[in-house]
Amino acid sequence: VIAPVPKVSVVVPTHQRCESLRRLLNALRAQTYPAERMELVVVADGCTDGTADLLRSERPPFGFRFLEQPGLGATMARSHGAAWTTGDLILFLDDDTEPAPGLVEAHVRAHAETPGGAVVGALPPVMTGALDLARMGIRSWWDDEVLRLARRGHRFGYGDLLTGNVSVAAATFAAVGGFDTTFRCREDYELGLRLIRAGAPLRFAPDAVARHHESSGLDRSLRRVQAEGAAEVKMGLRHPELRLSLPLAEVHALGGTLPWLQRMALARSRRGVVVARILRLALPALERLRLRGSWRRVYNRLRGYHYWRGVGDEVGGPRGLAAYLHAGLDPAVEPEAELEVDLAEGLERIEVILDRERPSGLRIRYGDRFVGRLPPKVGAEPLRGEHLRAALLDHLAVPLITALAIAGVEMPGIRRRRAARQIRT
């Protein structure tokens, strides 16, 4: 049971970003939440830029602990920091974020409404330095991420848990076993999956805002894609039921054919490395000539290269991938049950049923007529009432209209034509 004014432990891993950290500390000092109900744990991971001196001289108005570790990565740092917390909620913030004054309060409010779960806050990007095509793309990605989560009726998947600005009920975090520290990347997704499996509610708090100062560019984003390719393989090792829904399983669906460069990446061939290097060198020239279409084609090819290079490093080539995917074809995994509902009973009633039953998929009828399915989604939260209307609009609008028309629900345009047809016959 969470106290009426829960204690919030903020955990910040940091690596060589002394100035960002100072900005973050100042923003935490300016929080509207009572300081005596907050604590801060900063984990300096392999910092040699004076971060330790800064932290040693800090005297914030809330409980403060400062830990050091020798360059073990952000996952270890977060995990290490979380172990030292004493609060009811653990709030993970990245060192490049700048929380709005109401951030902590907004997280607490969201937890009060849905206790025992995780709350994802908004991370709108602030681009530091010049904007090129690659950095515009990074900004758009973050922007779209916030919009996607904020959309009414959004159904959470494990990939929606981003650790830049997320809070988890401490008891739940402990119950699922915290982060898997063998992941150096995508550890957040992996935690998200276990939270969803444990039935912990996930939600997005649009008012929990921490702007993040984004300094990555082209090369860092390509390295990141490569790390994600490797992490995805690991994800499927840890959770075999995910394996066939991972992007890398598309090669399976394609009948084993990948574009040449991606095949070279998977096989870790020298020729692939050379071609990738040439493409990388071509990008700035294409950008200078303002040939955006060509730039994008080359860039996407490079991203594909790095993704498959990450996969290849982890599975050890095409054969390894085949073996990996075949092991995912496990007939023992039972298809999840779908609930059958009749929309003629009224949307409100169905929504109540969904909130009670939390099915993973739906078979939808309108009266006698079958409208369609909302198939179970691997790694997504069970359906809630709130998801129904958005899902109908996005996936089943046309069959639903057909069913409504046949059932005789009054529609403009349809009504008159039926009457006209009757006159003619």
Binding site: P124, L131, L133, M136, G137, R139, S140, D143, L147, A150, R151, R152, G153, F204, P206, D207, L289, R290, L291, R292, G293, R296, L347, R389, A390, L392, L393, A397, V398, L400, I401, L404, V409, M411, P412, G413, R416, R417, A420
Partner: protein
């Protein structure tokens, strides 16, 4: 021979339409519960659109767009769908020059908006008479600003500076916004990368042949489907699908993020038009977005005489090429020649051929030629506009 303009609501549509004496056709905006979903053309006989004709015309409108709108309403789904979005405060700016009769209709419509703006600002551009200031005096809520630098771009830039709202919605003095106009434009701003939202513009009247051809040749409407434009899937130089300045809202931060309207472009300068499309291009090229939101409706009165239409079509060609001249030489957009070639090859040359062969339904030859002459003049007119701007700056 004229076309009546109708505003048809599907949910309360009549069995037939009468009282259209003197018209041989009717053009209708079709709405569903107030929201524009399509347009239709009917034959008028004896002042009436008969029942069968009405049904057949409306059937054409019934596409997925209509059904989605219908199902959204059936489910009680309202846009925007973002949690925690509050529409930003908006100023409305109308730029005008000595057209008090048109302006009165426009400003009266602005007092009837469902979503009232923070303020309405009338920017009077180099007036020759005091007619505008006299008119504005009759509307106590409306602010009057005088801008003596010539051109719509200068007037709009002044409007951006004067406005207090976070968003500045622009319309023209010869346009009449629908009551839902402003509210619909503002829904597009739930994405912080969106710097500009444009809306649907329909003809207010189609009384003359010039007005009909204006709507056929260069309609302001961009369809009934919402569209988001981003440089990663839309070429920034291809600006015309993004809308037009007669019906658009900008964030007030636009000047800081991508710059002002180019005052060497647009109405009231030698290049005649192109300032809006040039700004849309810059918005996309800097990684921001433009949204086209057809629920934001306004009605525009097209030019009545053929002479005016020809001048407008010439100005359209000149504006496009003037704006492209800037893109090529100022912004360094080397992809432009290919785009210009594509326009010539796939659109202008076939139109010219059809006009020369007098194919049925072809664009009148003088309009095709006016556009081509405009294109040829555009680059020089842009340079003339820049020279004039420098002269004005020196004089100031």
């Amino acid at each position: 021979v004229a076309t009546a303009v109708l505003d048809l609501e599907l949910s309360t549509r009549p069995r037939e339409i009468s009282g259209l004496d003197g018209y041989d056709r009717a053009f209708a905006l079709v709405r569903l519960h107030g929201r524009p979903v399509g347009q239709a053309l009917f034959a008028v006989a004896g002042g009436r659109v008969a029942e069968g004709e009405l049904d057949a015309g409306l059937l054409e409108v019934a596409d997925e767009n209509l059904w989605r709108a219908w199902i959204a309403r059936w489910m009680g789904w309202t846009e925007p769908a973002s949690a925690g979005f509050d529409p930003p405060a908006a100023s409305v700016v109308v730029c005008t020059r000595d057209r008090p009769d048109d302006l009165r209709v426009c400003v009266e419509a602005l007092t009837r908006l469902d979503h009232p703006p923070l303020e309405v600002v009338v920017v009077d551009n180099r007036p020759a008479t005091s007619s505008t200031v006299d008119l504005v005096r009759a509307f106590p809520g409306v602010r009057y600003v005088r801008e003596d630098r010539p051109g719509a771009s200068a007037a709009r830039n002044r409007g951006l500076r004067e406005a207090r709202g976070e968003v500045v919605a622009f319309t023209d003095d010869d346009a009449v916004p629908d009551p839902a106009w402003l509210g619909a434009l503002l829904t597009g701003f739930d994405d912080p990368l969106v710097l500009c939202v444009t809306g649907l513009t329909m003809p207010r009247e189609l009384e003359t042949r010039a007005q009909e051809w204006s709507e056929r040749h260069s309609p302001f409407g961009r369809g009934f489907r919402r569209a988001v434009f981003d440089h990663s899937w839309h070429d920034p130089l291809h600006a015309s699908p993004m809308g037009a300045s007669v019906n658009m809202a900008l964030r007030r931060s636009v000047p800081d993020l991508v710059g002002l309207f180019d005052e060497a472009l647009g109405p009231g300068t030698p290049s005649c038009s192109g300032e809006d499309h040039e700004l849309f291009t810059r918005i996309l090229a800097r990684g921001y977005r433009v949204v086209y939101e057809p629920s934001a409706l306004c009605w525009h009165r097209h030019r009545r005489t053929w002479e005016d239409l020809r001048r407008m079509v010439f100005g359209y060609g000149a504006g496009v090429y003037a704006a492209w001249t800037r893109e090529l030489f100022v912004e360094g957009e080397l992809g432009l020649p290919r785009l210009a070639w594509g326009w010539l090859r796939h659109d202008q040359a076939p139109a010219l051929a059809r006009a020369l062969l007098r194919r049925p339904g072809s664009v009148p030859l003088d309009l095709v030629l006016a556009e081509l002459r405009g294109c040829a003049a555009g680059p020089w007119r842009y340079l003339a506009g820049r020279r004039r701007l420098r002269r004005l700056e020196r004089a100031a």
